[in-house]
Structures are given as C-alpha cells and as structure tokens.
Symmetry: D2
Subunit: 315 residues, 4 copies
Amino acid sequence: MKLTEDQIKEIKEQQTQQNITKRVTAPELERILYDAIPILDHGFIRVVDYMGDDTSIVQSARVSYGKGTKKVSTDSGLIKYLMRHWHSTPFEMCEIKYHVKLPIFIARQWIRHRTANVNEYSARYSILDKEFYLPEPKNLAAQSQSNRQGRGDILEGEKAKKVLALLKGDAEQTYDNYETMLNERYDGTIIDKNSVGLARELARMNLTLNTYTQWYWKTDLLNLMNFLRLRADHHAQYEIRAYADAMLETVKKWVPITYEAFMDYRVGGVEVSARGKEIIKKMMKGENINLDQSGLSKREWNELMEAFELKDKII
Amino acid sequence: MKLTEDQIKEIKEQQTQQNITKRVTAPELERILYDAIPILDHGFIRVVDYMGDDTSIVQSARVSYGKGTKKVSTDSGLIKYLMRHWHSTPFEMCEIKYHVKLPIFIARQWIRHRTANVNEYSARYSILDKEFYLPEPKNLAAQSQSNRQGRGDILEGEKAKKVLALLKGDAEQTYDNYETMLNERYDGTIIDKNSVGLARELARMNLTLNTYTQWYWKTDLLNLMNFLRLRADHHAQYEIRAYADAMLETVKKWVPITYEAFMDYRVGGVEVSARGKEIIKKMMKGENINLDQSGLSKREWNELMEAFELKDKII
Amino acid sequence: MKLTEDQIKEIKEQQTQQNITKRVTAPELERILYDAIPILDHGFIRVVDYMGDDTSIVQSARVSYGKGTKKVSTDSGLIKYLMRHWHSTPFEMCEIKYHVKLPIFIARQWIRHRTANVNEYSARYSILDKEFYLPEPKNLAAQSQSNRQGRGDILEGEKAKKVLALLKGDAEQTYDNYETMLNERYDGTIIDKNSVGLARELARMNLTLNTYTQWYWKTDLLNLMNFLRLRADHHAQYEIRAYADAMLETVKKWVPITYEAFMDYRVGGVEVSARGKEIIKKMMKGENINLDQSGLSKREWNELMEAFELKDKII
Amino acid sequence: MKLTEDQIKEIKEQQTQQNITKRVTAPELERILYDAIPILDHGFIRVVDYMGDDTSIVQSARVSYGKGTKKVSTDSGLIKYLMRHWHSTPFEMCEIKYHVKLPIFIARQWIRHRTANVNEYSARYSILDKEFYLPEPKNLAAQSQSNRQGRGDILEGEKAKKVLALLKGDAEQTYDNYETMLNERYDGTIIDKNSVGLARELARMNLTLNTYTQWYWKTDLLNLMNFLRLRADHHAQYEIRAYADAMLETVKKWVPITYEAFMDYRVGGVEVSARGKEIIKKMMKGENINLDQSGLSKREWNELMEAFELKDKII
C-alpha cells in the first residue's frame, strides 16, 4: 500500500481533529481512527466514522433514558444473553463506516451483503489507479481436488512464477491499453492532444478483475458480524478473509464486550442438527455409533466429527 | 410530557459528557442532544446519537481520503446536484438515532418504514406507563365527506366534549383493568399479595391504541428524508406530522445544506406526469385547455391546478 | 372464525380457477390455495399466491438453463448442503403470499420482521370488524415468576373467569364507543343522520389491542424460515406461535424437501458456543465437569444441559 | 447470443409445461416465458417465473377476500391513484424472476440495487464462458467534454477499429491465460494431464471486466420499477439501458395497466423543485423571467427549460 503525499496529508488532518462531543466515544477505536491499515499488496481498510459503543446496545435493549449502564458486569451479562438468544435488534444500534481499497473480484463478493451502504469510486467519472492484486507465492494455491470451490496445495516454484508472470503481464498490458483508449494516463496526462479518448464508462471494461477499486462502506454492528462470521471463516476465500480479519480487530477495539460474546457464540461456536444432537447424546452415554447407524450423509458425519474433534472417527 | 426525577437526572448526566473525538461533529445538533422535545400531550423525541454531517455526504460521494471539503459553496452545489438527480447512496452515509415516546396507533404507522432499526419498550417484560393520547379540541375533526381517509371540519363544542369524555373514560377504565389483571400497579405496587397476576404479554391486549409506548429508532439520512417527505406532508395524519415536524428541525440543525436542498427539491417540489407536462407546456404557450381536452381524470386535473396555483381553473 | 356469505363466495370463485401455466406448481399447496385456515378465535391464514418450489432452489443455486433437476435425491442432497452451510440466497428464490387475520397486539410483533411486503386493512379508510381475541381458559397463564417475559401456571377457574369478563367487557364497551364516535355501526348503518362522526383515523385509537386486523403479507422462503424459526419456537408467545405452526404446515406442502432440512438443521438443531463445545468434548471423553469449572454462567450451563438432555446435571 | 444444444433443449422442456394452477396468470407473459431475449452481443434476459398480475395490486390495496376486481376501469383508476401518490406497498405484491447474461462491468452497476434476490454463476466452482462484450461501432463513444460521466461523439472509423482491436485482443489473451493457469479449457478439457491448475477462485482475477457472467435475479414490481426508472433513463449507460429496455417490454406484457401508469407518472414525468415551480407559475402568467432572477444555477435552469421544451430560453 502506497499513499500519495496528498493522501497522507489529508489523513493527518483528519487525525488532528479534537472535537468536543456529548456522544459516547470508543477510546481504543479513536486511537486508530482514519489510519490506513494495509491489506494484501495495495489494499487497506480505514475506520472513518462510528456511532455508539457497548453501552449503546444495553441502552436500547432497555429503551432507557440514560446511559443504561449500571455496572460493566451487568452489561456484559445482558450482551451475552442477547447474543446467545439471537436478539438481533440491539446490535443494530451501533454503526461503523470504513474506507476500503480492494481488488474488484473481492468487491464483487463483498457487495452481496446487501444490508450496508456503499459508495464506490466511479470509473465512469474517474480513472482507476494503476494497481492490481498479485498474490504472494504462499497464497498461490492449486484447485482443490476434493472441494470444488476450495484451494489445494501451494503451487511449486516454477509454476508459481509462471502464474505470477501471466497475471502481472496481463494486468499491465490491459491497463496500458486502458490508458491508450482513454487517451490519458492514470496521472491525468493527455497522450495525444489532437485526439479524443473513449468514454471512461466503456474503457474500464478492458481492466482485469484484480484491479483495485475503493469504496466507503457503512453498516450496523449486527450486519457487520454477519459479514465477519461468513468472511472470517476458514471456508472464505483467503483474499476477503484478510480484510475480515483486520475488521475483527477494529470490532475488538470498538465494542470489546460484544466482540468477546461474538467470538464465543458465533465464530467459535458450532451448530448441531437434530440428528447430530441424537448422535452426540448417544456418544455421551458411551454408546458406540457409526456412520451407517447415524442417518447422516458421509459429508455431514465428517463435519460433525471434526466439530467435536473426534478425529479418529472420520471415515 | 412529564419526566420523572430519575429520568431528568439521567438525561442531565448524558448532557454533561465532554468527550474528545476525532469524528466530525454537528455543533447545532450537539446543543440539543438528549433533550426531550415535547410532542402531543405526553410524547417526545430526543436525538440520542448521530454520525456524520454535510461534509460526510460530499466525502463519500467523492470517495475521498480527507474531509472532502474544499469550500462550502462547492459542497452545497454537489449536495444539490445529488438531491436533484436522486443520487441516493451518499445520503445513506449519515446516521441518526432518536428516542421517541408516541401513541401506539401512531407507532403502527411509523413502523411501516422498514429501513430503520428499532427497539421498542417491551410490554412482555414491563408495565406500560399510564399515559394516553387525548387530542386537543382543535384537532378533533370529523370524517371528511370528500376524502375517504381525511379529516373534515372540527367537531363543535358539545360533540367534542362527548368524544373526549369517551376517549378518556375508556382509556382509564381499560388501564385500571390492566392493572387489576396484572395484580400490580403501574408503579410496581402489588395489589393482592396472596394472588398472582395474568402474564404481562396477555394483559397488555386490554389497552387502547392511544396508550403511549416508546422506542429507540435509528435510520440513515436518506431513509429519514423518505420518512419526512411522507409524514411531514399535509396528507399525513396530524398526529404523526407533529413528530415529523419536530424531526425536520433536528435535520436542519444536523445537516443544514442537505436540509435546504431537501426542502427545495422534495418537500416543496412537485411531480408532473407526462400528460400533465403537455398541459403545462400548452398553457405556457397561451393555449386554452380544459379538463375534457386534457386526458386527465377530474381528480388529477385538480391536483395539477392546485400544484401550480391555477385555482380559478379548478372545476 | 366466521366468514360472511360474500367472503365465502369470493373465496370459492378463486378456488374454481383452472388456469394453464408454464410455471412450476406445488400440487399439495394448490390443494389448499385460498382456504381460510382458522387460528385462535377469529383469526385465519390463507395462502393466496406463491412462486417456485423445491426445484427452483436447485435451479438458481446452479444458475441453470433448465429445471435444474436431475434426480430428487440429488436435489435433496444439495438443499441439505445449502441449509447446513447457510447458503441463504437460493432460498430467497421462492416467494409466498398470505392473507392473515390477527389481533393487533400480535400484528405488532409480526411486523418487526422487516424483510417482507405488507398491506394492512386501513382503519383510516374503513371501519374495523367487531371481533376481539379472547383467550381460551387453558391459555390464560399467570406471569412467570422465574422468567420475566414468560408465562407461568394457568389461572384458576374463578380468576380466569374474572379476567375473561374484564377483557370481554372492555373490548365491547370500547368498540361501542368507537361506533358512537364514528356515528356509524360496523355494518355501515348511520346512527344519527343529523350528526357527523369523528374522523376514522382518530376514532380507532379507542380500540383495544386485542381487536382483529388483517393484512396481505408476502415474503421469500428464507425470510419465512427466519420468521418461523423464531415464532414457532417455544419461547414465542403462544398467540403468534399458533399462526407460525399453521404456516409451517403450508411450508411442508409447498417445499417438502426444504421443510425437512429446515426442521433438522434449524428448528430441531442447537447452537453450541466455543466454551460449550469444550465441555461437550470433555464429557464425551468421560471427564467429569461441573458448573464451576465450566466458565459458563448458571443460566448458560442449564441451557446446555437441557439441549443435550443431561437433565440430572442441572443445578 | 448463442445457446448450446443442451441449453436450447432445456428451455424447450420448460416451455412445454402445461400445469394447472388456481393462481392468477398473465397470458401475454406466459407466451414468452423462458424465452432468451438477446441483448448486446452475447447477453440475454429470460423471464423464468412470476407471481401476480394487475389485479393482485388492487386486491392487496383493498385487502380483499376475493380477486378484488370489479371492472377494469375501476382497477385502472386505483392503480393510477396509487402510482401518483407514491403508495408503494401494493406494487410490492407482484414478483418476477429473470435469468440474465451480462458483462461483469454491467453486473457491477446492476447489483447496487439491493432490494432484490440474486444468485450469480460462481467462478469459484466453475469456469466462465469464453464470451466478452465488444461494443458495436455505433456505440463506441468518446468521453463527453461537458458531462464528466457521459458519452460524447462516436469515434471515427480508424479510432473505433483500433479500440475494438485492443478490447478483443486483450479479452482473448487474458482468457487464454486464464485457461493456461487453470490447466483446463472452457469446455472442460485438461491441458496438461501431469500438472495441476491454479484455484478457480484465483484464476478468475485475470479476466477482463467485459467477460460475461450470468445470474438469477428476482425482485418485486416496485423495486423493478425503481430499477427501470433509473436504468431505462437516457442518463444511464447504454449497455445497462439495453437490458432495461427489454425488461420494460416484459413489464408491459405482465401488468399492462401498471405499465401505462408507470410510463405516465415516472418515466415520462418530471420533478419540479419549489423554486422551479415559482418560475413556471410566473411564466404561465406571461411574466418574463431569466436565469439571474430565478435563483437557480445555470445547470438547473437548463434542466428546467429542457423539461418543458422551452428550448429558446436555454442560455
């Protein structure tokens, strides 16, 4: 991630604000407000605004007149209870806004979370930066043989080099041709003063999906947790997980009590089906039970065994 | 509106907060933060939190790194442009949270605005306050004869008195019986120590629809404007308009530039149909045109005449 | 539930339709289409339209050109997989529309599910039916002593009688006064031809919350399942559960494969927290573990014991 | 647009369905159900399911027990009234589902309409088709000089040829390299049996934004009209307008009365601001008024003059 002089200066200016407010503040989050936290090779996330803290959840759950906080321990108990029993609305009372720079193919996954507000940098008005995502060799994985949507082993040295060369070459060439069609360089230089360029809304179609874009993305805490639960999961594509992991850290700074309950009940928790429950119950009674007797599919059985680390039972 | 000692104290405590933040603040709105603004006889609205200001709209429309503000005049021009051309997403980047006390029949209209977050005081857990809405005589209107959903003339003195007596009598009696069924008074006093009360979730069904409830209600600026456009309109029921009008004032303090554009393009504006446009065009050319030639229904014709104050032309 | 002659005739007319369509149909659901299924004393649900069936889920999950069905067994496996792994979007591809008659205090719970479309009978335009919900004696429960929002024992005979008399008396009186204020009976008869009535939008405020209202309610299968998971649960208030239970039966007729997966993974399933998982793992290994060692609150511990029917371990 | 033998066969199979239903049907829409209507060079839309018709809007607006249709003329009047006064919820009672093939850069605009359900073809599981959008020469426009996001003149012959050559060359090359990285051709042929391919979720990043993708997209009639109002507008990018125009035709076949009202009040209508209204009023009275006196910006003034075809007044 490389910011321009101007961008660094603008961020600094925001950070030197010292405004007085009667609103609640989250001191740990204030500390990193506006900071560009690097993700992947050219991406970042920045928290640019927020509203509420842990006490806001308690306050609205109680519809109270005041801060709604008696003691931290009481608040913590209530927040855990709300999380455990899927009382969702109090968590919607906190809001956060990020500025994110990310590759387009990741933006396309991200945008499927619909309960959020988004303003994306417009390639109809402006020219996109000359930046593309190129994976680090350790993330260049082969197609998984067992899981149709997953990754398998890391590509070996020569193969990896070849892939990177192709990705880099194609991204650079298509970007160069993007400039050619626009008759303008990424920095605003006109290429041929006697010519006109193709409309920006058309020229952008020549870019590859690893080109970086950026957006402002705002959501409430409940929907942020829904996002993180799916995207910080090990089934998620590595590239979006990198963003989700960094966002989890900002949640921890913002609403530490909620963060803890979220990690316990959602991220670290497991869902057991009605059938799965019967199997666990039998196993706890010491009964022997196997796949055939279980009524589960093989895949489901293995998922259950894995969840409770009954690894020797995997077939 | 009467607050208890405790409530007044809690509000005061919130208002004495002096937190330092790097976030943008809206100084005019800060001044009234947490204030209970009286509405109707026992209701209120209080702004309890907010996020962003006019510059946040500009900032996200530009997806900029910094505050996004060059000059107020530039910002104002951009905000007007966005409003005029229905660029909705930048207005979603500001968020506000209200604490509202309101009669249940109004709450039922309000809740139909779905893009908002709400926590309502639970009458399954708690006992509702002994407060009901009784209209002022000047708001006791007869059913309109011309408009099936509207109000007509104000009821005369005797009739009005009778209506108020019925409303008051029924509200008090059903509330008394609510307490009797609960075996508990509104202040927590147990009525008969040797008896048990009906479950709260059941007893509440005996209350009338003018009983006051309260909730935390949070939404973004775009959806707030959608709400206000419909509910501050003269077609809206007077009782919800009273809330909408007070909220409009808070918008003015919060995002003054947006407020001005909203009043110009939405609240004070008018939509003209394709057919209506043809009529206006002809009239501007000095052509005479009447209802029969217009292709409009009588109702539509009158709406058009009214919008452009061509009152002599109403048939 | 009592329908008028006209209503019965209108429903019959809908049911005699024999339209030809190229769309998929759900034969079991067609059989009960438009039927008013009685709920509580005067309520009902009617399925009035639907779109899609189990194959539509498979079809959109695969983004296929055709029906997307190879074999029922393959479809079933895919639907289970989608349900287990929270792939939510394919379930949004089926849609259903209900006509519901329900008490207002239940309508107020129901409407909090925001991702749905609703048109409610307007008491600004029209006069509400003279029908109120009066619980059967077996559902007249006392306030729970242990659970602040729950129900305890059933009220005894005399107490129950008294409660019912209060509910009935108040509902009838407030409705009579509603008519008086309107100067109009529920059947349209004008009471005093020389007088005018209070506006309907005002008079309605005198009604009690057990008055019946009705609406058209439309949602997709995913959001319907979210609704049913919460409202058919034993923590839900009995009166809304009565509706949810009847709706579950319509889901079974509509999308039988999805219904089965839903019952297994959601309704009958259990969520175990990270800490809970550690406890289960230890118990499966035969280790003794108790509340103190568990790191759980007493309440949480009991919930876990109950989920796995380790009842002897409840403290 | 070229469909495979299998796809054509699958579509035919859907079209030969002759199911009996008690639901309302839209005969004109049934006629084209499942048809792939070609858009751009390789795209299409297909209506694959729908629910409701014009009478469903009337029925739910009235919350009626029966079909809710007295006479077509009454229905038409009510639908126009609802449209004119922004009564939105009855239009949400109709639902439609499309199968769409479209270039990725258009999919990215489209997806910003959040109140819709979508399943996109997954390039994590599967290989995308070898199809890219190449504009027809008449659509190869230069960047507009006056409007930062618009199109200007059509590129001349030689320039156009060069642009097309670049677009075609880059799309083909990046697709070839996509196959190379995958070690697999678009038709499933393995390139080198002794090697492994890069994970699909990674390889896709090498594709250009004019590559075609496809999805199932389902929405209600209200949100469809919101989409069409913006995307069938002349400010919309030509490529998405091509889809919107074809969808407008399907709306006409589905709900002809609503279509007519939509064209009159939304598509062909105009919004006039409070200030604009004052100007029109003065002009109708024969007063002379110019930009300076108007209080409008030059841009706003011109938009107003254009709306009412007062072209001679444009400055």
